[in-house]
């Protein structure tokens, strides 16, 4: 029984990080209308940011989240203004193709500059006992970082002026425009936030898993499963979806095999699309 609870909690910890990636994808998809296939590559770049900052200047990996958020936010805004903004008026397929190309380009560049060597950030190693259960330090810290970012995101969207403007733009962009909201700017900010979430998640996963140029693929597939579970554009749904995927993965790894756990995202997408295409949660 204690073993089961431990595995459950590990799943939630895992899921909290997946949720960050998923919330970024669903936010951009819902508000900007762009399906960003390259989303996972920003997780990879975030992980490398933490890795290089740590190995070159011994930058504390826990603080690299704070470094990643502004960097990725502005990078995301710039990418949107320069490249993806024109896609908001184009057919959805163009966005798919362009961001797919972007994804390949980014991980190829990463491979070129940083090679295929597996990297890791040996920082918070070891584990600690907690009421008879045992948890890895790095995963526990990651969990609280992810929860903190999630809470900040929710509060931002609910209470801040910019957050309200973003919600207004996503719910009715014509009315948002006639309120005097610069909806184009709201979309750029949202795109930046989505990329910042991916980058932040990347710095967090660098604490626990190996880092390599193609690592984005597994995160983007989880993020897609999360978006489908939670309902397109539904942030709370994505949080729940992330936790569900994390728990499923943790349980499957423990009671079946790590190989089986890898097909959870694709199975989830398939099942939800067949049984309840609008996602599990009401918006």
């Amino acid at each position: 029984m204690t073993n089961f609870i431990e595995i459950l909690i590990r799943g939630l910890m895992l899921g909290s990080v997946y949720a960050l990636v998923g919330m970024g994808l669903t936010l951009v998809w819902g508000v900007v209308g762009i399906v960003n296939i390259a989303h996972g590559e920003f997780v990879m770049l975030g992980a490398y940011l933490a890795f290089w900052a740590f190995s070159l200047i011994h930058f504390n990996p826990l603080l690299s989240v704070a470094l990643a958020i502004p960097i990725f936010f502005f990078a995301g805004m710039t990418i949107h203004k320069r490249i993806t903004e024109r896609l908001t008026k184009a057919p959805e397929l163009s966005a798919l193709i362009l961001t797919f190309g972007m994804s390949i380009l980014i991980w190829n560049l990463a491979q070129f500059f940083w090679t295929n060597t597996y990297r890791s950030v040996p920082y918070l190693t070891g584990s600690f006992p907690f009421f008879g259960l045992v948890f890895a330090k790095s995963k526990t810290v990651s969990f609280f970082l992810a929860l903190g970012i999630t809470a900040a995101l929710f509060a931002f969207l609910k209470y801040s002026r910019l957050g309200k403007g973003i919600r207004a733009t996503s719910q009715n962009s014509e009315v948002a425009l006639v309120c005097g909201i610069n909806t184009m700017r709201m979309r750029a900010v949202t795109f930046g936030m989505g990329i910042a979430l991916a980058g932040a998640a990347g710095t967090i996963v660098s604490l626990q898993w190996v880092i390599f140029p193609q690592m984005g693929a597994s995160y983007v597939s989880k993020a897609f499963a999360i978006v489908v579970l939670g309902g397109l554009g539904n942030i709370q749904g994505a949080l729940a979806g992330g936790l569900i995927i994390g728990v499923l993965e943790s349980l499957t790894t423990q009671y079946w095999s790590a190989k089986m756990a890898q097909i959870i995202p694709s199975m989830t997408i398939l099942l939800i699309l067949l049984l309840k295409p609008t996602g599990l949660f009401k918006k």
Binding site: G165, A168, N172, E174, V175, V178, C179, G180
Partner: protein
């Protein structure tokens, strides 16, 4: 049938050509709204009525012609700048943010207002015009009836203390009782000194309330005149008012 209108022009649209992408919908529309007026804009479905309002509010590209608001040429000005100048627009159809509360709608309406006191003044005005709304501040728009949503949208538009109100089919999908309530509210707004340009399918109804009216057809001006005159004009009656 042209009549003298002496009051100062608040909005002048002159030879407006506009549309969507390469498709030209308006082929040179002219109209004006003067101080103290309700102006009705009618015409069959697809005539381009909504397009006129959208072009005036800066939502569409203007190919040629002019939009002059309070004596200033605002042709090609982005919508968020036009709002700041005091032109409020209540578009057709879905007029609310479904997941946002009444209070949040009023906040969004006041998006361009930087001054706290001005916003407070607007809220007091809304409280006079729509007292029942202020009692439902926490209610989400999706939990309100169509009529309530239309009123909420009107309140949202009034938050900028506009100098001109553009309304696109405010009666769409409402029960007769709500239609009457909405129109009475518009008259009250006009009497408080804010002129209104109203697009309507319910042509006879809007002409009853209008000081002046325009009839559009296929992106062109067809008739114009005082509301009453248009109502009794045999051609207008035959073509647009159902006999």
């Amino acid at each position: 049938m042209r009549v003298e209108r002496k009051e100062e022009k608040i909005l002048t649209i002159d030879g407006l050509v506009s549309g969507y992408g390469k498709m030209e919908i308006l082929h040179g529309i002219s109209l004006s709204v003067r101080r103290g007026e309700i102006v009705g804009l009618i015409g069959p479905n697809g005539a381009g009525k909504s397009t006129v309002l959208k072009a005036a509010a800066g939502l569409l590209k203007v190919t040629s012609g002019k939009v002059v608001f309070k004596g200033e040429d605002v042709t090609g000005t982005p919508p968020y700048r036009i709002v700041e100048k005091g032109m409020a627009f209540n578009p057709q159809g879905r007029v609310v943010f479904p997941d946002m509360t009444v209070q949040e709608h009023l906040d969004m309406g006041a998006w361009t207002i930087k001054d706290r006191q001005e916003k407070e003044k607007s809220l007091q005005r809304i409280d006079q015009l729509f007292p029942w709304l202020m009692e439902k501040k926490k209610r989400k728009a999706s939990q309100m009836s169509g009529g309530e949503q239309q009123m909420l949208s009107l309140a949202r538009a009034m938050m900028i203390q506009p100098k001109l109100l553009l309304l696109d089919e405010p009666s769409l999908g409402l029960s007769p009782k709500w239609v009457k309530t909405v129109f009475e509210k518009v008259v009250e707004i006009k009497e408080s000194g804010i002129p209104c340009l109203i697009v309507e399918q319910k042509a006879a109804m809007v002409l009853e309330y209008s000081d002046y009216g325009y009839v559009l057809e296929m992106g062109n001006n067809r008739f114009e005149g005082k509301g009453r005159d248009l109502l009794t004009n045999p051609d207008v009656r035959r073509l647009y008012l159902g006999g």
